[in-house]
């Protein structure tokens, strides 16, 4: 007998109607879908249910691209897809995107997720449109609280997300945060292996923690907390706080020192010093740190987080009658997240106990839209090419994202080691 013929047990098109196309990410295409309706009836043939009992009305189906476009052979599933499949199957938390099922069909992988109407990138963009309005303090606090809850769950389960950024944090129409895109996530309890060995580059550059920029081989969950610090700042100011340019890998495949990104951080925080970060001199790129100020003298006169925060609150029109500014404790939380020394950086558990959340005795709501008037536009779904078959669609630019996303740095990630 030759081989092991594979016959799928379930077929995408038997169970879902594709509504349209959402996005073309690095590793796959995402479609919006609803439950299959029987012809002539408006009732779904089967009703998908969330483990908590409610019905799931809409789905986001992530179809993984075969390694080669139009590849008609089985080529082996990429490691990032395997990770995402395994982790999403294993994990379950209100602040994580819910995986409904995985269908393997026609040499493709379809991951069926619960649909989320918004994401933080889209929400940030909506507020940055003129007239610029700040994200309401209550929404901000609720978002951050939910993110930390999801992150605590991940870290308690030995998972580092490694790619936290506004686009990967989704928000449902009822204001629930859903952390998504676990394609880079990794289990970190494997003791034998330096986590560095698998993948050389992790985390989109603007959200990359200083220990990664300095070449650390033993990174920890703390890298996620730096990223969340950056996201917190971005929700406040509506722009990335450290908007550096990624240095490209040279032909020798050496990972370059990210001088520009380090400089952007330095302009606000100043460069890290040994007194604050005792293990700093042990970082592989430590010698390069001295060269940052030659390219970016701004790091010699950093503005400091206090001033950055005050400017941000002012420039974003916080303080009007409609939008009281966040509590002052927000600044303290931000400082403790954007802490250079990963050992001193707040953990998700500590963050949840920070006075910003616990201060006034009432914990934040699990609905970040509670009490808000703002209506955010629904996710853009293109209905032009919405068949989900095996054929390869033309490489579509991401839709549903603000134009400025085109200016985002290319996401250089090596997921497959």
């Amino acid at each position: 007998m030759n081989g092991t013929p594979y016959t799928p047990q379930r077929h995408i098109n038997d169970h879902y109607d594709i509504v349209g196309f959402i996005s073309s990410g690095t590793y796959g295409r995402v479609y919006k879908a609803v439950c299959k309706r029987t012809p002539g009836s408006s009732q779904p043939t089967t009703q998908a249910k969330h483990p908590d009992g409610r019905n799931i009305e809409a789905f986001a189906i992530k179809k993984f691209k075969p390694d080669k476009e139009g590849e008609l052979q089985y080529t082996g599933i990429s490691q990032s897809a395997i990770r995402e499949m395994a982790l999403c199957t294993e994990l379950s938390h209100p602040a994580l995107i819910h995986l409904v099922e995985i269908i393997l069909e026609s040499k493709c992988i379809f991951m069926v997720f619960e649909y989320a109407e918004h994401d933080l990138l889209q929400i940030i963009h909506h507020h940055s449109l003129l007239p610029r309005t700040p994200i309401p303090a209550s929404a901000l606090r609720s978002c951050m609280y939910q993110i930390f809850s999801g992150l605590l769950y991940l870290h308690q389960n030995w998972v580092i997300h490694r790619d936290l950024k506004p686009a990967n944090i989704m928000v449902t129409s009822s204001g629930a945060i859903k952390i998504g895109d676990l394609g880079l996530a990794r289990l970190f309890y494997k003791p034998l292996h330096a986590l560095f060995s698998g993948d050389k580059v992790v985390v989109t550059i603007w959200y990359r923690a200083p220990e990664l920029l300095l070449g650390s081989r033993h990174y920890t969950p703390a890298i996620d907390l730096w990223a969340v610090g950056c996201i917190f700042a971005e929700l406040l100011s509506l722009r990335p706080i450290f908007k550096g340019e990624e240095a490209k890998q040279d032909s020798k495949k050496a990972v370059p020192f990210q001088r520009n990104q380090m400089g952007k951080i330095g302009e606000i925080l100043g460069l890290p010093k040994k007194v604050d970060w005792p293990l700093l001199p042990a970082m592989p790129e430590f010698p390069n740190l001295q060269t940052v100020n030659m390219h970016n003298p701004g790091v010699n006169r950093p503005i400091g987080l206090d001033k950055w925060y005050r400017n941000t609150i002012q420039n974003n029109n916080y303080g009007g009658p409609q939008s009281p500014p966040p509590d002052d404790s927000a600044l303290d939380l931000l400082k403790k997240l954007l802490e250079y020394d990963p050992l001193k950086r707040l953990t998700a558990e500590q963050a949840l106990k920070h006075p910003y959340f616990t201060g006034d005795g009432k914990l934040p709501s699990w609905n970040c839209f509670e009490g808000l008037e703002t209506k955010y536009p629904p996710r853009k779904v293109s209905t032009e090419a919405h068949e989900i078959g095996t054929g390869s669609l033309p490489g579509t630019k991401r839709s549903g994202l603000p134009d400025d996303s085109l200016l985002r740095p290319p996401q250089k990630k090596m997921r497959d080691g």
Binding site: M1, T4, L87, S92, L104
Partner: protein, 328 residues
């Protein structure tokens, strides 16, 4: 102990009671009665030993991590709970399980390298395109319902060794006992920490501190395994004998549970610790018994018998119904 084991898919979906296992296998047998009659195979544990040894050889060639081999063995066990082995080519399943496990355990291997090494080791592999491994990967993941994260006893052992002050040698011995346990159903029956405790228990009884390996019949090359994490079982250099001899295991079992407390401070510490812990003692006793019985059946192991048993149905594959593993 892994804080999250109890929430894991392993605990929730891939741990069974003994009667459940019996039923599942009965169903498989009923559905494939003809194949069973036509192709008798040695005891399931002996087949497991064969598979483990084959994987170990492959692992050595490819310098794979022990953890990846253990995960591959778990995948194979789970797969054959749902699919009749006689309908598959076990060598292809083994190659695919290793290929998948390596990705899960963060030591990915290229699919073509995997095919090349597997084909070199197993002429019976029967496939020459890597796409066959790719297709089999779909079948494997589908049968496993994408539940790919495995909790192994090794990590619990790492946590337990310092608690009981195990010597390096004792830890190594426990480690190889854990390797051996993959030849039983234990990983489908009990949480990994229970298996680690059993391994510690057997190791301590077999080699009380400061005493040479008195009870042991088979020499274990503990230090060798430390240098080479690819070795599935730090057994004697010539090959693959069990870590513990049958009689030694039996003695240990009887002795350990009936007042062998005076055997040494480590054992009495273990017994006290167990009494105070919430660990399921029935599980520990039963799992120990399973290990004793494994070492007993191991004495009758014949590589040839297993290999030939497989070769027969693989060769006849065409006539035996090459419907493969795709569910009908």
């Amino acid at each position: 102990m892994a804080a999250n084991y109890w929430d894991s898919t392993q605990a929730k979906f891939w741990t069974f009671t003994k009667p459940e296992l019996v039923d599942m296998r009965k169903d498989l047998e009923k559905a494939n009665q003809q194949l069973y009659n036509k192709y008798p195979l040695p005891d399931r544990r002996l087949m497991s030993i064969y598979i483990q040894q084959q994987l170990t050889k492959l692992g050595r060639r490819m310098s794979l991590r022990q953890q990846a081999l253990a995960t591959a063995q778990v995948y194979i066990k789970r797969f054959y709970l749902r699919v009749e082995m006689r309908k598959t080519n076990p060598y292809l399943i083994m190659a695919t399980a290793v290929y998948l496990a390596c990705k899960m355990e963060e030591c990915p291997q290229h699919i073509r390298l995997m095919l090349g090494e597997a084909a070199r080791q197993w002429p019976e592999l029967g496939v020459s395109e890597s796409s066959k491994i790719g297709e089999c990967e779909f079948a494997l993941i589908s049968q496993l319902s994408s539940r790919l994260i495995c909790h192994h006893p090794y990590r619990s052992l790492t946590e337990l060794s310092p608690i009981f002050g195990l010597s390096n040698e004792e830890t190594q011995l426990a480690h190889s006992i854990i390797n051996d346990s993959y030849n039983t159903d234990l990983i489908l029956l009990y949480p990994p920490h229970v298996l680690a405790i059993v391994a510690v228990f057997l190791a301590v009884v077999l080699r009380p501190a400061g005493q040479p390996a008195g009870l042991q019949a088979h020499s274990t090359h503990a230090s060798a395994s430390q240098q080479s994490p690819t070795q599935a079982s730090p057994t004697s250099a010539t090959g693959f004998s069990p870590t513990v001899s049958s009689s030694a295991a039996q003695q240990a079992f009887l002795g350990g549970f009936s007042g062998l407390k005076q055997a040494g401070p480590k054992l009495s510490k273990l017994v006290d610790w167990l009494a105070e812990s919430k660990v399921d003692m029935n599980a520990v006793v039963d799992a120990t018994q399973e290990m004793v019985s494994l070492y007993d059946v191991w004495e009758s192991y014949s590589e040839r018998a297993c290999k030939e048993g497989i070769t027969k149905f693989v060769k006849d594959g065409g006539t035996a119904g090459s419907s493969g593993v795709g569910p009908k």
